[in-house]
Amino acid sequence: MKALAARRHHPMALLVILLLALVATGGLYAALQPQTAQAEAYTEDDVDAGEALFLANCATCHGRNAEGLLDADGGTIGPSLIGVGAASVDFQVGTGRMPMQSAGAQAARKPPQMNEEQTRQLAAYVASLGPGPAVPDEEWLDTSKGDATKGGEIFRINCAMCHNAAGAGGALTRGKYAPPVVGLESKHVYEAMETGPQNMPVFNDTNLSPSDKRDVIRYLETLDETGSPAVSPWARSVR
């Protein structure tokens, strides 16, 4: 103890303490950081089949290696998909937004072009390119555990300014829009919050925890079940 006390004023002491502190913070962060990049059980075959589908359907805009393509003026034709994760693919392809029908203000929802198997294979391929958000676990989609009241509060504060209080959707700038969010598949709502498609901000797990996301989904389900008389019919029918 005496030896340690004697070296307390050693010029290097401060450096050692700083080093220790840095190691501790870094170690703690590495141990506790949010685990968004969960690996789903994709096989090598899934990845290969996904790559074939990707080259046939997506590479025109996103590039042969999903690195993204720029046009002559430096504008984005298709963004890089490295690190967007399986959740993003599952949302974009699963809701029919991708492959995109036509260039415009925004990719519109349409009947999906890929079946579930193909969507899964594409997700596997993109997930293999770099770590990113995975397709959500069943646990977070089980809305019977959700709290509609809390979800409603989160929705009003974070979502309603674009998607409308009753989830009917609304206009954004320059022809873009926030689509209606009532009556959708829970998985897609979750993935949209997690990945922030198109003009939507990302609500990652540190921002809105998985259980918060489940509450929001539960709230939207409640709106769907109880009906939303204030929703204008045309706003609901579009997209």
Binding site: A105, A148, T149, G151, G152, E153, R156, I157, A160, M161, C162, H163, N164, A165, A166, A168, G169, G170, A171, L172, T173, R174, G175, Y177, A178, Y219, T222, L223, T226, S228, P229, A230, S232, W234, A235, V238
Partner: protein
């Protein structure tokens, strides 16, 4: 005309009727009159009212709709006050609506949810109250336009126009104070806009806000205060003004459209008892029934969707009720102009729209006085104008409506953009340009249309209706057979007033000369008696020629052969 038609003479108020003193109807009226007469000496009044004559026309019904929807507002509003609690004290919701269970909210919002979900018939009454407010304002506006376009605001009715105008403004105040009461997010957003508008007023703004909200927004005072305004102050004022409106209506007598036998000195129509008592009574129930049906089937303002008020959220697609749309539209169109003077921010993006709203309202209120000054007309008018006979007034009215509509559309720019797949930015620019261009264009288009109709009516009065039957004379001339109008029909076309531009000087100011030039420079000469005589002579001559050729039989050869 049937034998119930009676006339009254405005100058003496003496009423004569063909069915005289011995009809059953008259006796029925006298029973009530007699009974009251012996107790409160009200028989004379009853008799006067029962035999009061009103003219008949579909366009006179809008004011009635406004009156009846106000009655429905009073009835449904009374029901709602039994259950609504205008308190901003915080409670935790435990009612049947799942998506709000456990949420903290004000007692006002909770009691609105109770009315909607728990009180028997509560939701229906809430919907009826809301819908009849919407119908009330529609009826007021349409009634105002009817009065405007027919010139029914002219002497002696200028004051009643102002009373009606005040009723319209009070209707907006009543509506706004009403839909702010539930204390949901949408109603709080509306109050926030008002707070912002008040704060933008230089010097007094912040003081006004402090006084109104009793401190910082939203505070805990505003709902109880609005409640007093909504259920006591404004309805009492509306009721009082309606009474004045109707007393003046009886005093002035109702205007009528020009027609045979109708003059500035009589009223041609039916007596209140029994004709209008039955018609109006039935019409009240019709309005009541229709509003109830709409309320039962078409839900509006589902406050449970918006959640309890919290100053941070604003929902997409937030619109006020339709009659307040125009006040929101200006705020959406104006660029975000601000300037700083001596460290104080002047928010032109609010002051300019407020100025425009003030001008639009002032123009509406003061138009009768403006027109009276231009025409210099000091006569009483009980015969309505046909809108095409006053092209500039009609044009100005349409321009006002278009300005109002552009502002109202601007307040729904997000909904329009979504519904029509447009860019909201482009739409906003289109509406900004439209705000300046559309009213001017619509003024000139309306004015030209009116003048064209006048020309056509002039032709019609002089030459009668074209029959599409053409006779060729021996010399190859083509003459179309015209069917002359009846005296009655022609009367309507030739009775209107004619004004001309004045020259400055001789007591006419340069400004007024300019104004008369703006109003009456483009005019179609009305048919003069000499012209009419000449036209009739010409027609007689033509008829002579045609009759000689056809032998008085105007049928075509094929028609002749088929008979």
């Amino acid at each position: 005309m049937c034998d119930h038609v009676s006339t009254t003479t405005p100058s003496t108020r003496k009423q004569t009727s063909v069915d005289a003193n011995n009809s059953r109807v008259y006796k029925l009226g006298a029973v009530g009159g007699d009974w009251l007469d012996k107790r409160v000496a009200g028989g004379g009044l009853i008799k006067f009212m029962a035999r009061k004559i009103f003219p008949d026309h579909w366009s006179f019904m809008f004011g009635e709709v406004a009156l009846y929807s106000f009655v429905i507002l009073l009835i449904s509003g009374t029901f709602l006050t039994m259950f609504f609690d205008p308190s901003m004290s915080e409670v935790v919701y435990n009612g049947p609506y799942e998506a709000l269970q456990g949420a903290t909210m004000s007692r006002a919002y909770e009691s609105t949810l109770e009315i909607s979900f728990e009180v028997t018939g509560g939701l229906l009454f809430r919907q009826m109250h809301h819908w009849s407010a919407l119908v009330f304002m529609v009826a007021i506006f349409v009634h105002m336009f009817r009065v405007f376009f027919t010139g029914a605001f002219r002497k002696p009715r200028e004051l009643n126009w102002l009373v009606g105008f005040t009723l319209m403004v009070l209707g907006m105040v009543a509506g706004f104070s009403g839909y702010s009461l539930p204390d949901d997010v949408l109603s709080g957003n509306g109050l926030r806009v008002v707070e912002g508008l008040m704060k933008s007023m230089p010097v007094v703004g912040t003081y006004l806000v402090m006084l109104m909200f009793g401190g910082e927004f939203p505070g805990t005072d505003i709902i109880p205060r609005l409640f007093t305004v909504h259920i006591l102050l404004v309805p009492a004022m509306i009721l009082g003004l309606i009474a004045i409106h109707l007393v003046l209506l009886v005093l002035h007598k109702h205007t009528q459209y020009p027609g045979p036998g109708r003059t500035e000195r009589n009223v041609v129509g039916f007596p209140v008892f029994p004709v209008y008592a039955a018609k109006a009574g039935g019409f009240f129930f019709l309005v009541f029934g229709i509003i109830t049906m709409i309320s039962a089937t078409t839900s509006i303002n589902g406050v449970w969707n918006y959640g309890p008020y919290d100053p941070s959220p604003v929902s997409a697609g937030s619109q006020p009720d339709w009659y307040m749309l125009w006040t929101d539209g200006g705020l959406r169109l104006i660029p975000g102009w601000e300037s700083t003077i001596f460290g104080y921010v002047l928010s032109w993006n609010m002051l300019i729209p407020m100025g425009i709203y003030g001008l639009l309202l002032a123009a509406l209120a003061l138009y009768p006085f403006l027109e009276a000054w231009v025409t210099g007309d000091d006569r009483e008018h009980h015969l309505n104008d046909l809108p095409y006979n006053t092209p500039v007034r009609t044009g100005l009215g349409v321009a006002w409506i278009m300005t109002y509509l552009i502002l109202a559309l601007a307040a729904t720019n997000d909904l329009i953009a979504i519904a029509l797949d447009l860019s909201i930015n482009d739409l906003t620019w289109a509406l900004r340009i439209g705000f300046f261009v559309v009213p001017v264009l619509s003024f000139y288009i309306t004015k030209r249309l009116c003048l064209s109709i006048q020309r056509q009516k002039r032709d019609l009065a002089l030459h009668g209706e074209e029959t599409s039957r053409i006779v060729r004379t021996d010399t190859g001339n083509m003459i179309e057979i015209h069917a002359p109008l009846s005296e009655y029909d022609r009367w309507v076309l030739v009775q209107h007033d004619d004004y001309r531009p004045l020259k400055a000087g001789k007591g006419v100011s340069a400004l007024r000369a300019k104004a008369t030039s703006f109003f009456f420079k483009d005019r179609i000469d009305p048919v003069t008696p000499a012209e009419l005589r000449e036209a009739l002579e010409h027609h007689g001559h033509e008829k002579h020629v045609i009759d000689e050729l056809t032998g008085g039989d105007y049928r075509t050869p094929s028609e002749k052969s088929s008979h």
